[in-house]
């Protein structure tokens, strides 16, 4: 196996552990924004999509690149925006107790 691949595995495993530790502490009330926010982060594949679209030379590569960028951007922009919209609503309202 190439060194590059092994470094990738190390990064993957460490990131997954950090993810477990941090995300296990997210309260249930925020589980929907967590899901939509995490979903937006999975749009990081936009980086690969931009590379694929930019370096593609044939028609097929251009079509695939365009699809990848479009899908990933829906994910990124939609995901972060809708999460922001939801989180804006979560308020602690002082009331009569």
């Amino acid at each position: 196996m190439s060194e590059e691949f092994i470094v990738g595995i190390v990064v993957f495993v460490l990131a997954a552990f950090v993810g477990f530790e941090v995300i296990a502490k997210v309260p249930r009330t925020l589980h929907t924004p967590l899901m939509s926010g995490a979903n937006a982060i999975s749009g990081i594949t936009i980086v690969g999509a931009i590379i694929a679209a930019a370096i593609g030379t044939e028609i097929l590569a251009a079509v695939l690149g365009f699809l990848a960028v479009t899908f990933a951007m829906i994910n990124v922009v939609g995901g972060f925006l809708v999460t922001d919209r939801m989180l804006e609503m979560f308020k602690k309202i002082p009331g009569k107790r």
Partner: protein
């Protein structure tokens, strides 16, 4: 340098997710994660410009504008009650994008890829394709385009096993014979598997399905990260994979079922429908409900999917306001699997300006029911079914429930006596201290509010 910049993006994702551990810092956290995404995008663009080659920027910019526009439109327009289907759709686009990235790499390299990278390429294709089609079936079920009941396929789980095996064999052929065609066949089987695996899963199990597909969209992105050797994708994808997995496990625990049994077993429907509706119940009018509520000291509201269907979140809040004016303490008990996705009820109540500190978890709510005068159940059924506690023959036996039957009086707002998703009768409805208020949730709450105000 470029590597360090991608690492910065990964760190911003982690810091952003950490912000989500408290409602106070959550909004800032989400923005920090978005900043991480912006950093990654700027870095890749700058890096590509530095290549000094002729690049297809027109394709990139068109994709960014079209995709960004669609995403923004959907995010701004969506109703909060429709959030589960939107998240399902976004999961699908994310998984689909990762699959297409892997596909573009196969095209570019003519399928000649070193074995270890070929494996991750195949995984990105397969997991991405399952996520894409599975998410759109989930979207269809939540939107009501595809029947939300369990649709049984010929052969059941065995059929899915055969399709999965076919995808793996085709992918193996692609990996070892450097055959692009084999990769495409594998992708095709994976896409079919997404459909056939999600179709048989009923509406109430959607929280698990959406969580799992969320996890898949992350894993697909991480695998795509191996394909193009990019750390930002690996970190971001691993984080999302972990988040989705945690939610999946939590949902399964809240139903006392294994993930495998939710995905592969044909659940519920054991009790025949004719048993239901023959026993006497205490029927209540809006006035009966109003009197019980207005003379209580402590009221616990228990929302379920029916609240979302009826768009009754504001009506609930209006009624709660009227009760609070009478110095009645109103809190809300939220079951982890109430609704169609994790945290669904919390978002709806937040939209109606309910303070999040009044929303109680299962563990916080249950000790309070014995001191609660009225438990008001709105559109929930299986999550308040005492059979889960008492009846070892019940299909939902062992599932943690909200003990609303321990409140002095329970009012159940429901359209009819029809059983919940599990297809089983609910003994709660026949209890002496249960009042059944048969109506649409929104109408019922509005009528109860008028009646309270008239007292």
């Amino acid at each position: 340098m470029v590597e360090l910049a991608y690492l910065t993006a990964g760190v911003l994702f982690i810091v952003g997710l950490k912000g989500l551990t408290s409602p106070k810092t959550a909004r800032r956290g989400n923005r920090i994660a978005a900043l991480g995404m912006l950093v990654a995008i700027v870095v890749v663009v700058v890096d590509l410009i530095g290549l000094d080659e002729k690049l297809a920027w027109g394709v990139v910019i068109t994709g960014i504008v079209v995709g960004g526009g669609i995403g923004a439109f959907l995010a701004i327009r969506v109703q909060m009650t429709d959030m589960p289907q939107l998240v399902a759709a976004f999961n699908g686009f994310g998984g689909g994008a990762s699959a297409v990235v892997a596909a573009a790499e196969i095209v570019r390299l003519n399928a000649v890829i070193p074995t270890e990278f070929a494996v991750t390429t195949a995984l990105s294709l397969i997991i991405g394709a399952i996520t894409l089609t599975g998410s759109f079936i989930a979207f269809g079920k939540l939107q009501g385009i595809v029947p939300s009941r369990q649709v049984f396929l010929p052969g059941g789980t065995a059929t899915n096993g055969v399709i999965a095996l076919a995808a793996v064999v085709a992918a193996g052929f692609g990996i070892f014979a450097d055959s692009a065609t084999a990769y495409w066949i594998a992708t095709g089987f994976a896409a079919i598997l997404g459909v056939t695996a999600v179709l048989p899963i009923g509406g109430a199990d959607m929280p698990v399905v959406i969580s799992l597909l969320n996890s898949f969209s992350g894993i697909a992105a991480a695998m795509a990260g191996f394909v193009i050797s990019n750390q930002a994708l690996i970190v971001g994808g691993a984080l999302v994979g972990a988040a989705g997995l945690i939610l999946t496990i939590e949902m399964a625990v809240a139903m006392n079922r294994s993930i495998a049994s939710i995905l592969f077993s044909q659940f519920g429907g054991g009790v025949t429908a004719e048993d239901i509706g023959t026993k006497p119940v205490n029927r209540a009018t809006a006035d009966d409900a109003a009197i019980a509520l207005a003379f209580a000291e402590k009221v616990m509201i228990v929302p379920g999917y029916g609240l979302a269907v009826a768009q009754a979140q504001h009506a609930v809040k209006d009624l709660a306001n009227a009760l609070e004016e009478r110095d009645i303490k109103v809190t809300y008990a939220i079951h982890p699997v109430a609704g169609r996705m994790p945290g669904h009820m919390n978002v709806l109540l937040a939209e109606a300006d309910v303070s999040y500190d009044l929303l109680l978890d299962l563990d916080q709510a249950n000790p309070r029911f014995p001191q609660t005068d009225v438990a008001l159940v709105v559109g929930a059924n299986d999550v308040v079914n005492p059979a889960a506690r008492n009846d070892s023959d019940s299909p939902i036996y062992g599932m943690p429930i909200l003990d609303v039957d321990e409140a002095k009086t329970t009012i159940v707002v429901k359209r009819s006596l029809s059983p919940g998703f599990a297809g089983i009768d609910n003994p709660l409805f026949y209890e002496d201290n249960t009042l059944m208020f048969f109506a649409d949730a929104k109408q019922a709450l509005e009528d109860a509010l008028s009646a309270v105000e008239a007292l």
